[in-house]
């Protein structure tokens, strides 16, 4: 199937291919929605992760809280945000981390009106940066 959205820069569209790749990672993340699971995970992360047959790379990215790597490996933001919430990181601060800007610079950008679509629509526009 042709993917007309693949030329958008800095973006993963969570399609069927990504969903398949990230299934166990995402199911782990959503399990943290519930307090009893958060407690079990926080008590012993390695043992808790054994229940989810994710790839070694995905597991490593979870343990390192490598937020962008999680998305690159099939994670979806609505799922990975549950892991962030477990760590006390809200959506805005998580975005600050993923953009590489840091939390404060990101918050300032949002207060100034956010990231303009100008120069941010096509991957070709990012190549010179």
């Amino acid at each position: 199937m042709q993917k007309d959205y693949e030329d958008i820069p800095g973006t993963f569209v969570f399609d069927a291919d990504r969903s398949r790749e990230g299934y166990h990672l995402n199911q782990f993340c959503i399990s943290l929605r519930l307090q009893k699971n958060r407690d079990a995970f926080n008590a012993d992360q390695e043992t808790y992760l054994d229940k989810y047959p994710m790839t070694p790379e995905q597991r490593d990215a979870v343990l390192k809280r490598d937020w962008n790597r999680l998305l690159e490996l099939g994670g979806n933001i609505y799922y990975t945000s549950k892991l962030a919430a477990n760590d006390g990181i809200n959506f805005q601060n998580l975005a600050g981390l993923m953009t590489g800007m840091g939390v404060e610079a990101y918050r300032d950008m949002m207060l100034a009106g956010g990231r303009s679509p100008e120069g941010n629509r096509y991957k070709s526009e990012w190549e010179d940066k």
């Binding site: 958008i8 969903s19 943290l32 979806n76 975005a95 953009t99 956010g114």
Partner: protein, 294 residues
């Protein structure tokens, strides 16, 4: 018969719920967000709908990756506000108009919209934040003061239903409501958006021109607007901006002629542009004006 008199479009940013729940809506950051809902709360208090048909998306709360229905209609007697990972929101239980919901479920399927029927479902901020901004502060002991029929739309895994499909579903919902014999005043909410991207290196994208074009065309060219392809939302309004397809369900359920009685647009709330619109069916709008003049 039951009838739909008006539609509400509304963002459902979780941070808006947090701001209300932690009582910081007077802070300079939040004050302009909530100012735009002052009119709406008065309007709701005056209009007092019996039922709100609320179109929203679940954010991996009631649905994990194991089951992903495109359209899921809440047919349970009530819906509990869910723990989304930071504790449940301290807001009232959501009560359904269960008889009408089951009527709509049957009507939609016979009308060839093969929806999923949810006889148990928790609801997340996608549903409770629009109720909070429109009805104001409530505690878990309170009642929302309205029956709510939830329709959860998949916008998490690509592809979301097309705008055209959503618009036509709105028409089918209207047919279902109008074939319900009881005299009930119904409003329809389309929620989500506006432009926002929560993820990866382009997070923080905001496109006010796109958002206001969208708000304008809800009145001036809803059919044309409903034909917009997904890639335009993704590119122009951010990867999570595609939530706006849900507004087409709301628009499709209204008359061809509507009157925009209120609009609110503000950047930012957390990562997101907040958009809000109230559309009344023109006939209903005119009949109220006549009533007021008498």
């Amino acid at each position: 018969m039951a009838r739909i008199v008006a539609g509400v479009g509304c963002s459902h940013v979780p941070a808006i719920g947090v701001a209300m729940d932690t009582h910081i809506t007077d802070q300079p950051y939040w004050q302009p967000v909530f100012k735009g809902f002052e009119f709406s709360r008065k309007w709701m208090a005056e209009e007092k709908p019996d039922v709100v048909f609320l179109v929203y998306n679940d954010h991996c709360t009631a649905f994990d990756a194991s089951v992903i229905p495109t359209f899921a209609l809440g047919c349970a007697a009530s819906f509990t506000p869910a723990d989304e990972g930071w504790g449940p929101r301290p807001v009232p239980m959501v009560y359904n108009h269960q008889k009408m919901a089951s009527h709509i479920a049957q009507s939609l399927i016979l009308d060839e919209f093969d929806i999923t029927i949810m006889n148990e479902m928790e609801v997340d901020h996608g549903l409770t934040v629009p109720l909070s901004v429109m009805y104001g502060d409530k505690t878990p002991e309170d009642d929302w003061g309205v029956k709510v029929i939830p329709l959860a739309v998949n916008v998490v895994q690509y592809p979301a239903p097309t705008g055209n499909r959503c618009y036509n579903l709105g028409k089918a919902i209207r047919r279902a409501v109008e074939s319900y014999p009881e005299d009930l005043k119904v409003m329809i909410f389309g929620t989500g958006g506006m432009s926002h991207q929560l993820q990866y290196k382009r997070a923080g994208l905001i496109n006010p021109e796109f958002d206001n074009m969208f708000l304008d065309k809800l009145t001036s060219d809803p059919v044309g607007l409903s034909k917009m392809p997904h890639v335009d939302y993704l590119r122009e309004a951010g990867s999570e901006g595609v939530e706006m397809v849900m507004w087409h369900v709301m628009r499709g359920a209204l008359d061809e002629d509507v009157v925009e009685v209120h609009r609110h647009y503000h950047v930012p709330a957390s990562n997101t542009a907040v958009g809000h619109i109230i559309l009344e069916n023109k006939d209903y709008h005119d009949s109220r004006k006549t009533l007021a003049a008498e």
